[in-house]
Symmetry: C2
Subunit: 384 residues, 2 copies
């Protein structure tokens, strides 16, 4: 096991009807800015529950935080918060709304140009307190301190974290997910599955618990993912999906183990160049990464085959191939296509994708830092 430091102070309030608990979490005298995405929280009753729980508190609504939240939009929220002497933020939505709210919280207290937080990794020492009401199980933002923000005018999509940007609390009510479109559930399952793999499928590191926990999350997703599509109102299924997605990226399973975020990094370029959903890029690239790196990841691929997919028959090569196939089949069963050609992307794009990776300094990816642009090229080619 590698040395590690782990801390996660976010309080999770989980279950049907728990939005009412906002009344116990948000200070009585707070001036609250509720942040949200599109109009779904108005139509599905979530905003009404938030309103009821906030009661007599003074609150304002900032809606319109987009998927892949932009600096431009978020700075409008910062201005609105300042104009109205806001002292507390409440994100109501999915990962994009929560990511965006982390940036708003940091930007309000930041001395200088807030984009520096992302572009220059300017340290964030303070942030406005905030909580969240999660409505889309996917990214884990509700229980971590990371945030991805895009600058539309510059075409940048960048990441920051800070000890000050953990949500104070997150309310997870599985019934809020009942009305989600199937595509968002499908993407959410892939968004949760792939980061678990990225914290797991590297090389053996004598981290038995982290491995077992990761495998438990993967098995659970493989079970509840298809059920969540088939039975949108099955509470137990949605509850398991929601809690699993949160635990997928809250720091716990990644503590003390090597990690390989190549799938994410190569995926960001696909989104930037072709506008694919984040989950689509992950579903395309993960099987390709597994295939191209099957030698380097051999021991963990065999463990993954046996423990997650119960593949114990045949030679090592056959089991590894079967595990990669099972992964691809799972994504396709979730209705997320896994080949670039499924999205009308051809080999003509690969030079551009590699150039962008190099421009962004992504030239030594993977758990060994040896996924060079040449290896990334093989991955993209394999994904055609």
């Amino acid at each position: 096991m590698q040395n590690f430091s782990y801390r996660n102070p976010t309080k999770i309030i989980f279950g049907e009807g728990q939005i009412a608990m906002l009344d116990a979490e948000v200070p009585r005298n707070a001036r609250v800015l509720v942040t949200s995405g599109g109009g779904s929280i108005k139509s599905n009753g979530v905003l009404d529950q938030v309103k009821a729980a906030l009661g007599q508190r003074t609150w304002f609504l900032f809606s319109g935080i987009e998927p892949n939240p932009t600096y431009e939009t978020l700075m409008e929220a910062v201005a609105m918060a300042r104009e109205n002497n806001i002292d507390y933020l409440l994100a109501v939505g999915g990962g994009s709304v929560i990511d965006g709210t982390k940036f708003i919280a940091a930007a309000i207290k930041f001395d200088g140009e807030p984009w520096d937080i992302l572009s220059k990794k300017a340290p964030v020492h303070d942030a406005m307190p905030f909580g969240s009401v999660l409505t889309l199980p996917a990214t884990g933002s509700e229980m971590n301190n990371g945030s991805v923000v895009s600058y539309r005018a510059k075409g940048d999509k960048l990441f920051f974290t800070s000890e000050a940007t953990y949500p104070l609390f997150s309310v997870l009510d599985p019934t809020t997910t009942y009305s989600l479109p199937p595509k968002q559930i499908a993407n959410g399952v892939v968004d949760a599955f792939v980061p678990v793999i990225e914290q797991y499928l590297t090389y053996p590191a004598d981290a038995k618990v982290q491995d077992r926990f990761a495998e438990g999350l993967l098995i659970t997703l493989s079970e509840v993912g298809p059920q969540a599509l088939a039975e949108p109102h099955n509470y137990a299924v949605r509850a398991n999906l929601m809690w699993t997605a949160t635990l997928a990226l809250n720091g716990l399973i990644g503590a003390g183990v090597p990690q390989d975020w190549a799938t994410h990094m190569l995926g960001h370029e696909l989104t930037a160049l072709h506008g694919l959903d984040h989950a689509q890029t992950l579903a395309i690239l993960l099987p390709a990464v597994m295939s191209v790196r099957r030698e380097q990841k051999r021991a963990k691929l065999l463990q993954y085959a046996e423990r997650v997919w119960k593949l114990t028959e045949g030679s090592e090569e056959e089991r590894i191939t079967a595990a990669i196939t099972a992964t691809r089949s799972f994504f396709e069963r979730m209705t997320v296509a896994t080949r670039l050609r499924d999205y009308q992307i051809t080999g003509d794009s690969i030079d551009k994708l590699i150039a962008k990776l190099e421009e962004h300094g992504m030239t030594a990816l993977g758990e060994h830092g040896d996924i060079t642009p040449q290896v990334s090229r093989e991955v993209y080619q394999h994904a055609l």
Copy 2:
């Protein structure tokens, strides 16, 4: 899944050499009371590492916190802290030292008679900040807010928790466990294994992740427990044991699921009456609880048999019996005997044990609250 609230703010600093990180965690101007048990931290070099890390800070040592820490001893520490204007506590030891330090931290700030915190469940709103250096993997106290304290003069052993008594941080250096006597390692493995069972072996509650995590901890303990006895200086084994024991009782696997703490409660009476180690009582009583409650726990016993012990052959009854036998064999392989007769305790004690259980209000135990004194009697009889 049941509704739940979960939060755990303790920072874990894990790995060889990490005691030096105290320098980054303890405030520069703190006046520190280091609390400890017997002399082992002096002989094994841990105290020297603590000294070096604290550097120029002003600190005092309070040693002598006993296993099953007593109010009498802990109040001496409170007096010493007050005399020396202490404003920070650092527990260096195992679960008893950390439990005791939680009480010291609460008692110093408590307005009134501190024993009321335990005897009257007087709420603890404030506590002195404290961290810990763990030297014995067992109870999980290093990452939870619970504390058990005994009042020697009254013969009471009581429990309290408070949001204010989480350690700010805990340093877990597996090499500090190398010099532990085998008996403490053996007891520690049982002390970690049984609470996981108590948060798991009830009835199916549609909590897939909690189940998988619990099973992961149990499998890991079944693997590393005997290795830890056989190879005291195997870093990977001790590291896995240490992190597993912490995760066994930090709230995570118990969130959203039914629990059955009957084994613990019946065990406390055995310790009180016969002076058995806590782990010994658990090793005796868990197989008996499993046997007496095999019908009520049937579904989870079958799941436990299959997933933890890979028992898939034979009838349901045979698999359940085999799982109970496997549990008993595991404890015995850990050198912890599992029958009352192994400790020279006979059926003559049972009336006294039941009377004490009734006196302490333990008349409706288990996940259904239906472990009455009559059922507890069956458990003790089964354990003979």
